[in-house]
């Protein structure tokens, strides 16, 4: 049992429902007792059950897999389900919705709309000219296991939006693609099934809204709950794109 068990936790939560006419953003404070192994997500459930039945926040998996419960926890974007309350020695935790996304209400934001637009923008699917003439009786060409591992490493992205909210460039410039988009491009760039060339990728990310707009603030690298290699992959894309003639 944690030595922190039983202490009082103070949650300062942003409350605002844009659907309710006249509603104004405000901070509300809730006090609950900490339980062993408590996460911010568990605490939110308790707050909603005891004090604020209308409190809006998203969750599905409760295990850091679905990416739904991203929010700003004491200033840093993170997943509520993966953040232990024991991490905060003062016992005061402020919760805000992820910035850079459309607010649904309280801590709930619409990452889906953003992620869909991002995927369409970078054309986040395998581009294969022979796809329509594929012979289904033939075995698919084998992939080198190392390449498959590299693709898997980037495919671990759960599109939680933490990297987008942690990015100062994205906050300043609305049209900036953001790290999640770069991770997708990096993923397709190493996929041998995708026939796009570097020049094709340049057309997607080769401007100041793309990889050359990235100011290397590395908020993405330092907040990604899945520890994706943002720093090295964005640098790799920058080097690749700078070499396109």
């Amino acid at each position: 049992m944690s030595s922190e068990s039983g202490r009082k936790l103070k949650f300062h939560i942003l409350r605002y429902d844009p659907q309710t006419p006249g509603d104004k953003p405000r901070m509300e404070t809730f006090e609950i007792e900490e339980a062993p192994g408590m996460t911010v997500f568990i605490a939110l459930n308790e707050i909603r059950a005891k004090y604020a039945p209308a409190l809006q926040y998203d969750f599905v998996c409760r295990a850091g897999i679905c990416g739904s419960c991203g929010m700003v926890i004491n200033g840093r974007p993170d997943l509520a389900c993966r953040t232990l309350t024991a991490k905060f020695p003062k016992g005061e935790i402020s919760l805000m919705p992820l910035p850079a996304f459309e607010l649904i209400g309280d801590l709930s934001v619409d990452t889906g709309k953003f992620m869909r637009a991002m995927t369409e923008r970078i054309e986040g699917w395998i581009h294969d000219e022979s796809k329509d003439n594929v012979n289904l009786d033939q075995l698919e060409a084998r992939m080198d296991p190392d390449t498959a591992d590299k693709i898997y490493e980037l495919d671990r992205c759960i599109e939680c939006g933490c990297c987008v909210s942690a990015c100062g460039t994205k906050r300043m410039r609305e049209d900036f693609l953001g790290a999640v988009g770069f991770m997708k491009v990096a993923r397709f760039e190493i996929d041998p099934r995708d026939q796009r060339t570097d020049a094709d990728y340049y057309d997607l990310i080769g401007d100041d809204d793309g990889v050359f707009g990235c100011m290397t603030l590395l908020g993405c690298e330092d907040t990604c709950p899945k520890d994706l290699p943002h720093q090295s992959r964005i640098a790799y894309l920058r080097r690749k794109m700078a070499q396109v003639r």
Partner: protein, 247 residues
């Protein structure tokens, strides 16, 4: 949706060229500034050492009289000024372009309390400071290239330039070290097998270099101030080295 999609008009390659040009100009300026401070700090080894360094920079070894060619200093000054203007112009592309962007970034920085995010803001501020103060220094050097030496420099520092040099020193050294660190992670040049570990090492190097060059700069500035104070009655008189005096 599965075909290889081509844009009708390919994106311009200019953003790539500009990004590279910003990095390369920054790299050259950063290396120049470190070398510059190392040369300037020769005053810590004594007036004779600084005199020797200033004469070598004027390529005195090529002139029969040993006087050197101060015009070389002007030419270097003009080249650095040009590079400085190009670098500033390229860097300004990334500056907040209106109050809302600046306010959003500052709010984000306060929220995140994230070192690399704050580093960028420090670069914006120090870059802005350098744009004005650096220009003054460059103009003085370009127009008075012969007035670099143990007494000439000290007279200038003690006489009227020390507040500008003090601010400029902090702006340059903070900007250069952060810039070099950011350059390395931006292009992944020292990534090695473990880019994260490499970044941690680069952060230590960045802090170490900042402290080293700031200490060296402050010590040099104190040395120039001391010499300038002692020489105040004879301000304007050039330094005569032991070798020159024996001729």
């Amino acid at each position: 949706m599965n075909r290889v999609k081509k844009r009708e008009t390919p994106l311009s390659r200019m953003p790539a060229r500009l990004d590279l040009a910003q990095s390369v100009s920054g790299l050259i300026l950063g290396l120049f500034m470190w070398t510059h401070l190392l040369l300037v700090s020769s005053i810590l080894l004594g007036k004779e050492a600084m005199h020797f360094v200033s004469k070598v920079m004027e390529m005195s070894f090529l002139s029969p009289s040993g006087e050197g060619y101060p015009v070389i200093v002007s030419l270097v000054g003009i080249t650095i000024s040009a590079l400085f203007i190009v670098h500033a112009a390229l860097a300004m592309r990334k500056f907040p372009s209106n109050w809302k962007q600046a306010a959003t970034f500052r709010e984000h920085m306060a929220m995140m309390r994230h070192p690399d995010t704050s580093h960028w803001w420090r670069q914006v501020i120090t870059g802005f400071v350098m744009f004005f103060l650096g220009s003054v220094h460059l103009y003085v050097i370009i127009t008075h290239p012969a007035e670099i030496g143990p007494f000439a420099s000290s007279d200038r520092v003690y006489g009227f330039m020390w507040p500008l040099y003090l601010i400029l020193l902090f702006a340059v050294e903070v900007h250069a070290a952060i810039g070099m660190y950011r350059l390395a992670v931006k292009w992944g040049v020292f990534d090695g097998a473990d880019p994260r570990q490499s970044r941690k090492r680069l952060q230590i190097v960045e802090r170490g270099l900042t402290m080293f060059f700031l200490s060296l700069g402050v010590a040099s500035l104190i040395a120039y101030m001391k010499i300038g104070y002692e020489h105040r009655e004879h301000a304007g008189e050039p330094y005569v080295s032991t070798e020159e005096a024996s001729r």
